[in-house]
């Protein structure tokens, strides 16, 4: 993530799963105002339920600097009930318990800290249900 202004801007989708559903049916969690397939600007704001399934996943053994002490950990592509696709860490599980198609729920967790004196970044991760 990033410094305070960007972090604050991303709060609606990272904290509350506020998403956009376009007239074509395309649902996006990261804020988009244009449908990438149709170019439509017609959308409604929705709040995702937080429930979904794992489409694919991998185990990270060599991580970016902020996460080197958390390895190994699981990162998954998840499709929510509403059809939004997102990438999230899958936590509170053993890597061998993660399967494609497994049901997950998004929970509110700490994502990273910006050093010892910077802000703490929060957002969604997934747990197996």
């Amino acid at each position: 993530m990033a410094i305070s202004p960007r972090y604050t801007r991303e709060i609606p989708h990272r904290y509350r799963l506020e998403a956009q559903r376009f007239s074509s049916g395309y649902v996006t969690l990261a804020n988009r105002y244009v449908d990438p397939e149709t170019g439509s600007r017609e959308f409604e704001n929705i709040t995702l339920s937080g429930k979904g399934k794992i489409l694919t996943w991998t185990v990270i053994s060599i991580a970016a600097d902020a996460y080197t002490r958390e390895t190994p950990f699981v990162i998954a592509v998840i499709e929510t009930e509403e059809g939004a696709r997102l990438t999230a860490q899958v936590v509170d599980c053993m890597p061998e318990d993660v399967k494609t198609g497994a049901s997950v729920e998004l929970v509110f967790r700490k994502i990273m800290e910006e050093g010892a004196s910077g802000i703490i970044n929060y957002g969604y991760k997934a747990i197996l249900i």
């Binding site: 709060i11 509350r16 936590v91 929970v107 700490k110 929060y122 991760k125």
Partner: protein
């Protein structure tokens, strides 16, 4: 009628056994388990802190309250482990749960009773007619220094309570607070771990305040211990709450449901609130509940609740405390425990 309209708790999935800590320091595990009356304690995940625990508990409280979060006029989080020294935990919570921005938010601190303090103030707001709903939360990721007796008990978890005047599921009948300057446990600024007065934390601190508050609450209400279905007290270990309860005339059977310390440890600000949540999970309409917290420094908050006809329909709407305590668990060895609790110093 003003009381609890929604309640919820949360404990992390990670645990360390008392015998694992005893093995590290060469202590007698059987004597420790017998003395403290606890076998294991919760440990926060690497990505969990007081804010994430408070939010998980508050989500469960909202599921039971079934109200629009925007109607909540105040949110208070009591903790001695707020992640920021300066920046309120409650600001993250209200934005995560869609409460506010028209909301009064404050973080409370009073050692282990900051949670009941938050409940006390939230309840008072609604009782005064100042607002329709207010939320009080107790949550902690408490710290015990390596090798210290507190390391066996200091754990993580929390509970949230929404107070209101409509569709009340546990009516607040009486309250009382009892406070004095008693230096039994403290942590100075910039210190990683608290210090405590050893045996001074017992009779002159915990028992003086818990019994003082409890006796006055019984006097105020004109009730006797046998009038209650349940009782819960702050749980720094397994023995203290049972001894305090017995002294006030409560039986172990009345305290059993809320006595979660043997599986959870001492969640500090979340301790007696989590025990109360475990009681509300099973209480029947008409059951009376006696609660006294304790925070070092020192003070106690007391509440008498009476469950209403509404309680039964809310109990299955969110996770129950004892299910969380006995559900998914990952046991840590001491090395992983100190890494999870960030007791290892690294170069930045």
């Amino acid at each position: 009628m003003v009381g609890i309209v929604g309640f919820g708790s949360y404990v992390p999935s990670y645990r360390i056994k008392a015998q694992t800590i005893a093995a590290q320091w060469g202590d007698d595990a059987a004597a420790i388990e017998r003395g403290l009356m606890l076998k294991e304690k919760t440990v926060p995940g690497r990505d969990e802190d007081t804010i994430t625990i408070a939010i998980a508990a508050a989500k469960n409280a909202l599921k039971r309250a079934r109200i629009d979060p925007k109607l909540i006029g105040a949110v208070y989080i009591g903790s001695e482990s707020h992640p920021y020294a300066v920046k309120p935990s409650g600001t993250v919570l209200i934005d995560a749960l869609g409460i506010g921005p028209d909301v009064h938010v404050a973080d409370f601190e009073f050692a282990c009773k900051a949670g009941s303090e938050a409940m006390f103030v939230a309840y008072s707001h609604v009782k005064s007619g100042n607002m329709d709903y207010a939320m009080g939360i107790g949550a902690d990721t408490s710290q015990g220094a390596p090798g210290d007796a507190l390391e066996y008990s200091a754990s993580a978890g929390g509970a949230a309570f929404i107070f209101g005047a409509k569709d009340v599921l546990a009516d607040v009948k009486f309250t009382h607070s009892y406070t004095s300057d008693t230096a039994d446990f403290w942590r100075r600024e910039y210190q990683h771990y608290p210090r405590h007065g050893g045996r001074f934390t017992g009779e002159p601190a915990y028992f003086k305040h818990v019994l003082g508050c409890g006796e006055r609450l019984l006097e105020k209400s004109g009730m006797k211990a046998q009038d209650f279905a349940f009782a819960v007290f702050h749980m720094p270990n397994g023995k203290f709450p049972l001894k305090a309860g017995n002294t006030l005339g409560f039986t172990n059977e009345q305290m059993e449901q809320g006595w979660v310390v043997n599986l959870m440890g001492n969640t500090y600000s979340g301790s007696s609130p989590t025990g109360l949540a475990a009681i509300l999970d099973v209480a029947k309409p008409g059951d009376k509940i006696f609660m006294v917290s304790f925070g070092s420094g020192a003070g106690s908050d007391g509440f008498i609740f009476e469950a209403t006809d509404k309680i039964t329909e809310t109990q299955d709407l969110a996770s129950k405390t004892r299910d969380l305590l006995t559900g998914k668990k990952f046991y840590l060895d001491y090395g992983h425990y100190v890494a999870y609790r960030r007791k290892i110093l690294f170069n930045e």
